[in-house]
Amino acid sequence: MRQYAIKRIGLFIPTVLLVTVIVFVVMRLIPGDPALAILSADDAAYTEDELRLLRIELGTDRPLVVQYIDWVSGLVRGDFGTSFWWGGPVMDRLGERIPVTIELAVLGIGLAVVCAVPLGVLSAIKPDSPIDYLSRVFTLVGISIPTFFSGILLTLILIRSFGWLPPLGYADIWEDPWANVKQLMLPALALGFYDMAFIARVTRSSMMEILREDYMRTARAKGLAERLVLSRHGLKNAVLPILTISGWQFGRLFGGTVIIEKIFLIPGVGQLLIDAVYQRDFPTIQAVIVIVALSIVVINLLVDLLYGWLDPRIRYA
């Protein structure tokens, strides 16, 4: 197991380094000049001299290699640089936004797992029953509807049917938990809708496969209660693919938050990223992408380690 873990962690560092290079290079390859974006906001006037001076101030007039080394050495020290957009340290704003996005993503995946696993199990143990058909329709619809659309759809249903929307603003979970839940539940539902369908589908097929295994028959033959057979022998073995999918989906959720945060006015990292892209705020974009990439790499690493721990065949392979 230790060797397996070392091998996995060993891959982590070059992956992160590669991410920094790709992010930095891509940001410079796409057209658009941050100084221009700042000066020409709302079609405002500027002179060539102002443009030149602002480039000096932002440091974008320096060679790319110098800019990259400067950025990476900052990263190592935990300094993500100064925003081109609002002029403050990027880390300050990330510090405000990251917990919000994590909360949204956790709620999203939590809702998805809580709803999807029972649904998948029910569907598997009662194949071709009405509940199975309902579950299959639900998963088909859920997988087919993109996150942004389910968000807009949910908003429309609420506003047209009940004249209600989640309260405006954002309340910190530690200061006003009830307001926080009211504000985040709907976006979390929209965010987790796809994952709910996907996990339910995976659970169903995984569970159906397990139900046909010999050891399940053995468990029943020795007189175990059905509840125990399903939970101890069935679900425990079916959970491996669900775990992998959930880990992978958790990373995907960060992509979904970009749109959902915009629609539901949630001040998270996704919204910050969109604003930063519009403003050509390189330091913020780079910081957000590196952090998201890092978190996905970390989650995948944890899932790999967990997988190895749960299934000895993997760590010895």
Binding site: G32, D42, E50, P118, V121, K126, G163, L265
Partner: protein
């Protein structure tokens, strides 16, 4: 066999469903009344009209007879107001209430220095004052803000402002001439970006610094020649030449006076936490909280120097950037108004919103946001041929452009947007006439003849470039249809992210470069409604939208002549001549298309609103009140 498991699972599902329903139903109560039922008793009394409003002396009331400030040179073009007038309030202005406003984008700056961003000026405008401001009712008229009165010397090159006595910052320090001088020298300093806060630079004696080349020493060396403190309540501004437009650029919400004592301590007022920590603002509202990407909230300044103002107790601004969300929030009654004539909706969507809310919300027009045009790269063939440019100007269908790209909300206009020749007059000119009229047909025939004369009887292939913002892509696609149909000019439309588009246009700037673009659809944002803004934006060498640095002695001559002309009518006559010449297109680079329309979406219960002339000012919100 499965019976023992089934109930557990069903119970689990029911619990989850109930949780979700609980959340939905728990919040289903009607949103709290915005006027705030718990407002203090005195908050509902009806005050007398604010004293400061009465004492803020407009320029016309101030001697000497040379006119303290030149009045608006030209009446704003008339375009019928589409919306019904807001019903008369049941009584006079009332104090109290919390108003919830939608901001179309997050703020970028809390310090006006170098700021050009509309979403930013909306946020900091309530915290600070200018020397002068545009009147709340006659929104094109400049009146005093911090300045109680002002005078202009006989040759129009020196403005002396007298400040209100007894104005204090919220930290208790006096607001005086030092604050004005410090603030204005920052905006005028060439080391700093001009933004919109420093637009007055183009008229004032230029601020000089020790080393501007690489910004190693930005110490001002000629401060007294530009902005000078006479005494604690008197400040003198010196202009490079007489100009009536100067005062308008001081009156926009960007030209704020900031606390000099904090700036001198090196406190970065661009960071909201510093504003919150040091608490030195002067405006009608005080910042209470800013959560980036979500909201900012301000409370009434109880010690505001204008007696009785503001009326609202509190304003909560929520950042709503997606059109669908804005519509949903308005329909749910969760916002009372947009805090600017910007809400990311099209004209049709704004009209539809009025309908869907049974006119509870009114979309108030602003007809001076931006002048839209077709930029021609005169450094490249075939646009270096003036006959081709003339033909394009004649063949473009402004009516179709307005109907299809701007949802019929705009109006075709000539180069000086109705500030010289009236829009009615200009509409009869060649190229402006509807294409289905005899005049329009004549224009098409003339355009085709010009193309033949230029050597392009069958047209040519060209690339259009647009930025992926606003309606630019739709605009170019309408233009493309016209030019293809009438002149055989065809080609693809290239769309680029905003900054990338600007970068591409900028490739035509260097004298020896031709630039990487050919034709582009672009607007020029108007900060104030004055011809100087149009010249500086489009028709002078180095102008923002003059990417090819097109220049003619004729236009330069007219510009110089009109900018020092203090008689509005004489100035107008000069500009009328310039406009005819520009529209004839014997030499021009910018095909003027349509003036767009923007909308302030406001609940009918909010009173005291008068739409400004452009989208770039009118954000202090000190005169708004609830009639509930």
């Amino acid at each position: 066999m499965l019976s023992s498991l089934k109930p557990a699972l069903i119970v689990g599902l029911v619990i989850v469903t109930l949780m979700l329903l609980g959340v939905a139903c728990g919040g289903a109560e009607a949103p709290a009344a915005s006027t705030g039922a718990s407002a203090p008793a005195e908050a509902t009394e009806t005050p007398a009209q604010p004293a400061a409003q009465a004492t803020a002396v407009p320029h016309t009331a101030t001697p000497p007879p040379e006119a303290t400030v030149r009045p608006t040179s030209t009446p704003a073009p008339t375009i019928a107001a589409r919306t019904a007038p807001t019903p008369l309030p049941s009584s006079g202005p009332k104090h109290g209430g919390t108003v919830r406003m939608a901001a179309y984008a997050d703020t970028k700056d809390w310090d006006p220095l170098g700021s050009s961003s509309l979403s930013s000026v909306i946020s900091y405008s309530q915290l600070y004052n200018q020397l002068v401001q545009f009147d709340n009712v006659d929104t094109g008229l400049v009146v005093g803000d911090l300045a109680e009165s002002w005078e202009v010397n006989p040759d129009g090159t020196q403005y002396t402002f007298h400040l209100h006595d007894g104005v204090t910052w919220t930290d208790g320090e006096a607001l005086d001439a030092d604050d004005v001088v410090t603030s204005m020298l920052r905006y005028g300093n060439p080391c700093n970006g001009r933004g919109r806060s420093g637009l007055w630079r183009q008229y004032a004696i230029p601020v000089e610094v020790v080393n501007i080349t690489d910004k190693t020493d930005c110490t001002v060396t000629n401060a007294d020649q530009v902005v000078r403190k006479i005494d604690d309540l008197t400040v003198e501004f010196n202009l490079a030449f007489a100009s009536g437009a100067f005062i308008k650029f001081l009156a926009i919400d960007y030209a704020k006076v900031l606390p000099g004592h904090l700036l001198e301590q090196g406190i970065d007022l661009n960071q909201s936490e510093n504003i919150l920590a040091h608490g030195a603002t002067s405006g009608p509202f005080i910042l209470e909280e800013y959560q980036s990407g979500n909201h900012y909230k301000v409370n009434r300044n109880p010690d505001y120097f204008k007696d009785g103002l503001p009326y609202f107790d509190r304003i909560e601004h929520f950042i709503i950037t997606t059109p669908a969300t804005f519509i949903a929030q308005v329909e749910a009654g969760q916002v009372d108004m947009a805090n600017a004539a910007a809400n990311n909706l099209t004209a049709t969507e704004n009209y539809d919103l009025e309908t869907s809310t049974n006119s509870e919300y009114v979309a108030h027009d602003v007809f001076g946001g931006a002048t839209r045009g077709l930029m021609l790269n005169i450094k490249r063939e075939p646009f270096d041929n003036h006959l081709v440019r003339q033909a394009i100007n004649l063949a473009v269908d402004r009516q179709k452009h307005n109907a299809r790209a701007l949802h019929g909300a705009g109006r075709g206009h000539c180069p000086l947007v109705g500030l010289a020749n009236s829009l009615e007059e200009c509409e009869s000119w060649p190229g402006m006439r509807p294409k289905d009229t005899p005049g329009g047909q004549e224009d098409i025939a003339k355009a085709q003849a010009l193309m033949a004369e230029a050597g392009y009887p069958d047209g040519f292939e060209v690339q259009y470039t647009v930025r992926q913002v606003g309606t630019y892509a739709a605009e170019c696609s309408v233009i493309k249809q016209d030019l293809e149909e009438y002149l055989g000019i065809t080609g693809p439309i290239e769309t680029l992210p905003s900054a990338a588009g600007y970068a591409k246009y900028g490739t035509a700037r260097p004298p020896d470069a031709k630039g990487d673009w050919e034709m582009a659809c672009q607007a020029d944002g108007m900060t104030v409604y004055d011809v100087d803004a149009i010249y500086a934006g489009i028709f002078l060498k180095g102008a923002t939208r003059n990417y090819t640095d097109w220049e003619t002695p004729e236009v330069n001559g007219w510009f110089e002549e009109q900018k020092v002309e203090l008689d509005p009518e004489k100035r107008r006559v000069i500009n009328m001549e310039a406009e005819r010449w520009l529209h004839d297109f014997s030499n021009n680079h910018w095909v003027s298309l349509t003036l767009g329309r923007n909308f302030w979406v406001i609940h009918r219960d909010i009173k005291g609103f008068h739409a400004p002339d452009t989208v770039q000012y009118g954000f202090k919100q000190e005169h708004l009140w609830f009639d509930r």
